[in-house]
């Protein structure tokens, strides 16, 4: 006979305000099988938990129901308390009367009535709970880091220094990400590459880090502690073992006019190229779309058009026939750090985003975006660090900077703030003023968001010391007028239209997740918001975890982040992963499916629907060893407990522990007010 204890939490006023907790406790007291029903101000407090432990002992309870917040919040807490009281933790369940009741209703009477109903339901369930044993599974102490930008680099280094093996996968030929393209960084104006490149080298040389550059994640199987990652090493056309990075091949390449991705299209590169001098690894890659040899091949020309790079290579490292290769790595945890891309301002936009045709990006050569300006300002850039405008290579006397291009503009499909633009525009104005004396920097802004250590001071400095002119308002349109660009906007503080003749315009465009993030998220089965940013498990308390166990997120793929944020997140993920690796065995909730082999008819419908291939075949033989039948058996280690098998089984011969038919059946009945 069940002896259930019910504990109703006021959660201070959170539940108490709209739910009469005492009444709930009273009502449940008379519920069949309930031997103890009390309410208390804070059940999650130590005294509250003590209350539970005490009643378990005194009333020798067979089950505990805590009517409080969401199980996602405190289920673990109270199960631990129940365990402390000598009860199997899985005999304790939570009735969610806060998120699902007190917080969403005002009518106290109705809310209380509902809370009672919720309570009854869970009581009925718990009556049918059975003691379960936590499953222990081994942990592979290797981590997969996806993305070799600053976040990925930081995470990899912290993990490696913490003693974990790291697999770092970067889709570009070199690690470094966007940070390697930046000239200086706010708010300290220290040279980006100077602080980044040492870390890149460190990654390359670290004994615990295995780097797959020019590679992408193909698929991920398994579960926390036991993932199997398949990685596609894209055909580099250069043998990484043989190449010594002398660069002879790039010297002789006949294709020299290809827009360089690293220089954001402002510089040129060859078809066989190293993205930038400090690239890690310093191994060239052949861009097959632009290589004369491959282009000819694609056209069906059999004669080998060009092989200069191969001839130039003393190591014989150039390998035109190289193909994509697949390697599988077993890892225990995954860190996603794929970073961002800039909103493309041109006319044709992906996934329904509208462009900013009125700003003439792509048609007016001297209208560029923030990253391009970084390259112009960078000593390693196409102009060697001089600010020269693309059209005629003259130093611009007036530059107009436009903030919030794409950001905070629901009409253009993005309502969020990209966080970094205010600061980097301030930085740009300084860099410009420092390099072009007497130059005029005008900024059109909506608000200046300078929250961060030294940020406000930094943006003030741009205005007060370097004399950047800030105009609050938007630009309606721009057009080329001879050598200058007419910028027509509105000064909302002065309340009058303004027209500026600019030599160059820099658009601070929105930060968006990398293309293909959805596909990646689906491979990892982590959720993402409507913009494609990866969802964190909890906005405040679990900022670097995803809602898939063992998969973590760092940097701008979670939401717009500046470098300090990205690095902080990266270190946080490392801490999380190392924490995970600190155990030899992982404890898993025993919510797994079990087959009733007497009743199983062996139709294996369950096998077809199981997402994890956890269903195995088992032969049932009699004493003499005669095969009686073949039935399904669930591998508890592999099963993740979705329960699709049970809903599929026609004879209900497989049960998901913790969510058995009997439990749900009784919940359904309880809701209808009938208790059996």
């Amino acid at each position: 006979m069940a002896r259930i204890g019910v504990f109703v939490c006021h959660c201070g006023e959170n539940i108490g305000r709209t739910v009469d907790c005492t009444k709930v406790a009273e009502a449940l007291k008379n519920h069949p099988g309930v031997v103890e029903s009390v309410d208390y101000k804070y059940m999650c407090s130590d005294p509250g938990q003590a209350l539970i432990k005490q009643s378990i002992a005194e009333k020798n309870l067979t089950g505990v129901v805590v009517a409080a917040c969401s199980p996602h919040m405190h289920e673990k807490t109270f199960r631990r308390a129940a365990f402390g009281g000598g009860l199997n933790p899985f005999l304790c369940e939570m009735a969610n009367v806060r998120e699902h009741c007190s917080w969403i209703h005002e009518d106290k009477e109705k809310a209380t009535e509902k809370a009672i109903a919720i309570g009854r339901t869970i009581v009925e369930k718990v009556k049918r709970n059975v003691p379960l044993e936590t499953i222990r599974i081994p942990v592979t102490k290797r981590a997969l880091v996806i993305g070799g930008g600053i976040a990925g680099i930081q995470a990899a280094l912290d993990l490696a220094d913490g003693g974990a093996e790291v697999i770092l996968v970067e889709k570009e030929p070199s690690i470094g990400g966007h940070m390697s393209q930046l000239s200086e960084t706010f708010p300290t104006l220290d040279c980006s590459q100077c602080i980044l490149t040492p870390r890149m080298v460190e990654v390359y040389q670290h004994p615990n880090i295995k780097l797959y550059s020019y590679s992408e994640l193909e698929s991920l199987e398994g579960y926390i502690g036991n993932f199997k990652a398949t990685i596609r090493k894209k055909a580099r056309s250069v043998n990484e073992e043989l190449c010594n990075g002398c660069g002879a091949c790039t010297q002789v390449c006949i294709q020299k006019k290809i827009p360089s991705e690293f220089d954001a299209g402002l510089g040129k590169r060859t078809a066989i190229y190293v993205p930038f001098p400090q690239a890690v690894p310093n191994i060239p890659v052949i861009d097959r779309k632009n290589c004369a040899r491959f282009k000819a091949k694609a056209k069906g020309i059999l004669k080998e058009a060009c092989g200069k790079c191969a001839e130039a290579c003393l190591k014989g490292a150039v390998d035109f026939d190289q193909e994509d290769r697949f390697v599988t790595e077993e890892v225990g945890a995954v860190v996603v750090a794929t970073g961002y891309q800039l909103y493309t301002i041109g006319k044709d936009q992906p996934e329904g985003l509208q462009g900013y045709g009125e700003y003439g990006y792509g048609t007016i050569p001297d209208v560029i975006d923030g990253l391009q300006f970084e390259r112009l300002a960078s000593a390693s850039g196409p102009t060697g660090g001089q600010i020269l405008r693309p059209s005629d290579g003259k130093p611009p006397k007036t530059i107009v900077f436009l903030q919030c291009i794409g950001s905070r503009d629901p009409q253009k499909g993005i309502e969020y703030c990209s966080k970094i633009c205010c600061m980097y525009v301030a930085k740009h104005t300084m860099l410009y003023k420092h390099k072009v004396h007497g130059g005029k920097a005008v900024v059109f802004y909506m608000d200046i968001r300078a929250a961060g250590k030294g940020y406000e001071e930094f943006s003030r400095r741009a205005i007060e010391e370097d004399g950047a002119i800030y105009i609050r308002g938007r630009v309606s349109r721009m057009y080329r007028d001879g050598q200058t660009i007419k910028v027509q906007g509105f000064d909302t503080l002065a309340g009058e239209p303004v027209e500026i003749d600019a030599d160059m315009v820099v658009l601070a465009t929105a930060m968006r997740p990398q293309p293909g993030i959805e596909t990646l998220a689906q491979k990892l089965s982590v959720s993402y918001d409507r913009h494609g940013f990866i969802n964190e498990a909890h906005p405040k308390l679990r900022p670097v975890e995803t809602n898939t166990a063992g998969i973590f997120v760092a940097g701008a793929c979670q939401s717009p982040r500046d470098i300090p944020d990205a690095v902080a997140m990266a270190s946080a993920t490392a801490a999380k992963v190392l924490g995970l690796f600190s155990k030899d065995q992982l404890e898993r909730e025993p919510t797994v499916a079990k087959v009733n082999q007497d009743l199983c008819a062996g139709c294996f419908s369950c096998e077809h629907v199981c997402p994890y291939g956890a269903v195995e075949h088992k032969e049932i033989r009699d004493r003499k060893g005669v095969l009686l039948k073949i039935v399904a058996e669930v591998n508890g280690g592999v099963c993740q407990g979705c329960g699709t098998c049970q809903a599929t089984c026609p004879s209900k011969s497989v049960e998901l522990q913790g969510f058995t038919d009997e439990q749900i059946y009784s919940e359904i009945n309880a809701l209808a007010g009938c208790v059996e």
């Binding site: 006319k347 900013y356 045709g357 009125e358 048609t363 349109r477 057009y479 080329r480 007419k486």
Partner: protein, 291 residues
């Protein structure tokens, strides 16, 4: 194709050539225009400045009539008329209160089912036919397409082209064999109804437009709005400072008409203040079609 036709006051006055050229072109393209019986003012200029409900009702009356006369779409060639009629539809669609009031106000049933088409929108739809039937394409004529303020704005009302980077007029001109030039002032204000009250402004604005078109190397400007036409055409002499070459202002329909080989006379081109004759002669002399 059959389509309701709402000329509006301008096409019976200052912009008769638009009416004439439109009818001629429609006939040539097999579009049957059915004039809305008993049509009345669209509520432009003064109407919508005085009273909102009135302005909606004035326009809605014509739509209601079209509805009663079994039309499913109405062509409003004047940009202002188009804007008013389209706004009325928009209001009736989104403002329940107004929707309720309209029927009794109009004394007519109004279900807001009649689509309002713009001249440019219509011609863009017919571009393939124009291309096919263009016996005298405007080879090489450099045309600056001038949208003005109303044609594609506000987007939720006009709703047929990009409000910032429209392309529809250019498409039509291309179909007619012309070469659209890229220029900057194609969506600026021409001064509109201030032609009489603040002529100075109109001249200043118009001059900027003409100058920009010239710098872009245009032979002519194409418009799709009677107001724009009268401002740029009628006031052009006043805009000239240092004897710039006159810039013919065509209605889009006239250009299409020329391409289709219709007589300039039939298109009412002779009604222009800035004569198009020199240009057309040049074209013809250069053996570039167009008599």
């Amino acid at each position: 194709m059959k389509i309701g036709y709402y000329p509006g006051c301008s096409l019976h006055g200052t912009a008769r050539e638009l009416d004439e050229s439109l009818r001629a072109v429609s006939a040539a393209l097999g579009v049957h225009l059915q004039e809305v019986e008993d049509w009345s003012c669209c509520g432009a200029t003064s109407g919508h400045a005085t009273d909102h409900l009135l302005s909606v009702a004035l326009a809605a009356r014509n739509l209601a009539l079209a509805e009663a006369q079994g039309m499913d779409q109405v062509l409003a060639p004047c940009a202002a008329c188009f804007s008013r009629l389209a706004s009325a539809r928009h209001e009736a669609r989104n403002d329940a209160e107004i929707r309720e009031k309209l029927p009794e106000l109009l004394g007519l049933p109004f279900t807001n089912t009649v689509a309002v088409r713009n001249l440019v929108d219509l011609l863009r739809g017919l571009a393939p036919e124009i291309k096919a039937k263009a016996t005298k394409p405007l080879q090489g004529m450099k045309v600056a397409c001038y949208y003005g303020c109303l044609l594609v704005r506000p987007p939720e009302v006009a709703d047929f082209d990009d409000p910032e980077q429209p392309t529809s007029m250019e498409e039509v001109v291309k179909a007619a064999g012309g070469t659209p030039v890229t220029w900057n002032h194609r969506m600026d204000c021409c001064g509109g109804a201030f032609s009489l009250s603040r002529t100075g402004s109109v001249i200043r604005l118009g001059r900027a437009i003409l100058d920009d078109a010239r710098t872009a190397g245009a032979d002519a400007i194409a418009v799709a709005c009677p107001m724009c036409h009268s401002n740029l055409d009628f006031r052009q002499s006043a805009m000239a400072l240092r004897g710039e070459a006159p810039m013919p202002i065509f209605f889009l329909t006239e250009l299409v008409g020329l391409a289709l080989g219709l007589e300039p006379k039939a298109l009412g081109i002779r009604r222009h203040f800035v004569s198009a004759a020199p240009l057309l002669e040049r074209q013809c002399a250069a053996g570039k079609g167009v008599s």
